[in-house]
């Protein structure tokens, strides 16, 4: 009986840590001064949050195919996030969105 | 037991209504498009909550994705034309 409890604790810990990073990412999105900094917050904090959450969920999954599935989705999201971040940053730069502390 | 589900569903419903109101009231076309995409994705979450994963899939892919991309294209064409008219 202690085995499932331990599993719940560990996976719950991972998921809570993930939720914390999602919160941090949202706070960063609202607080950071310019679009470039906000992209940092969204890309990195949310990705780490999703990673921790995926690990927590993968621990709870019944089948190993489900585990790999969850981790594959995380991998795909990681690639998508890096691509989206680069695209938005590049177009902001090209359109001359000023960075914080820069007068233009 | 049920209250946790109520919390989640409540958040989704409030989000949907708030997005819809803001979407209809904003004067910024681009913001409206972006909010439309957000609305579609939130609606997909709503479909998930009522147990219709297939509808959620269609809503996300067609309602938010394809329609959103088409709106973005139309917005670009529209603003090109407005710019031309202003320049001429």
């Amino acid at each position: 009986m202690s085995q499932p409890l331990l599993l719940d604790l560990v996976s719950g810990g991972f998921m809570l840590a993930g939720a914390f990073f999602f919160l941090a990412g949202t706070v960063g999105l609202l607080r950071f001064p310019d679009v470039y900094c906000r992209l940092h917050a969204l890309t990195k904090a949310d990705n780490l949050g999703l990673g921790l959450l995926s690990v927590g969920l993968a621990l709870r999954a019944d089948l190993w195919t489900e585990r790999v599935q969850i981790l594959l989705i995380w991998l795909l999201v990681m690639g998508a996030a890096a691509t989206v971040c680069h695209l938005l940053a590049r177009s902001s730069l090209e359109e001359g969105v000023p960075a914080w502390g820069e007068d233009s | 037991m049920a209250w946790a589900a109520w919390v989640l569903d409540g958040v989704v419903v409030v989000l949907l209504v708030g997005l819809a109101l803001r979407l209809l009231h904003t004067r910024d076309l681009f913001e409206a498009i972006v909010l439309f995409v957000a609305y579609g994705l939130t609606l997909a979450l709503g479909w998930v909550r009522v147990g219709a994963a297939d509808l959620a899939l269609a809503e996300a892919a067609l309602g938010a994705g394809v329609t959103g991309a088409l709106f973005l294209n139309a917005w670009r064409r529209l603003s090109d034309r407005v710019e031309e008219d202003a320049g001429a």
């Binding site: 949050g49 795909l76 691509t83 | 946790a4 147990g51 996300a60 670009r76």
Partner: protein, 114 residues
């Protein structure tokens, strides 16, 4: 445990709601387009959690679609330039995300988060 997972999903949904404040406030179009990233990660997280909480593995497929959508939408957005487009404000940075709100009317649901 399922209840705890549902609450976790609700918490993540609140995160999305807070993030949408940034989408509503802008000021630049790129600031609004972070909605793609927001749903691309947090939306996927919600769906993965729900897949476990509701015992519905098919929701992971929906999560995949969300992740792909983020890319599709932002590619559709950056394909050509966007500044000085119809309805988009002149951009301005500044500490505290400066600039007045788009039209002065913030959404009712957003108001509480500000």
């Amino acid at each position: 445990m399922d209840d705890a997972l549902l609450l976790l999903a609700a918490f993540l949904a609140l995160n999305v709601a807070a993030g949408l404040v940034r989408v509503a406030r802008g000021p630049s179009p790129a600031d609004r387009m972070v909605v793609a990233q927001l749903f691309g990660t947090t939306g996927v997280a919600i769906l993965l959690v729900l897949a476990e909480a509701m015992h519905a593995p098919e929701l992971r497929t929906v999560a995949l679609v969300f992740a792909l959508l983020a890319v599709v939408i932002s590619v559709a957005f950056v394909k050509r330039g966007w500044v000085r487009r119809l309805g988009s404000e002149p951009v301005g940075g500044g500490p505290g995300a400066g600039g007045p709100g788009a039209g002065g009317h913030e959404g009712e649901a957003m108001e509480a988060e500000r």
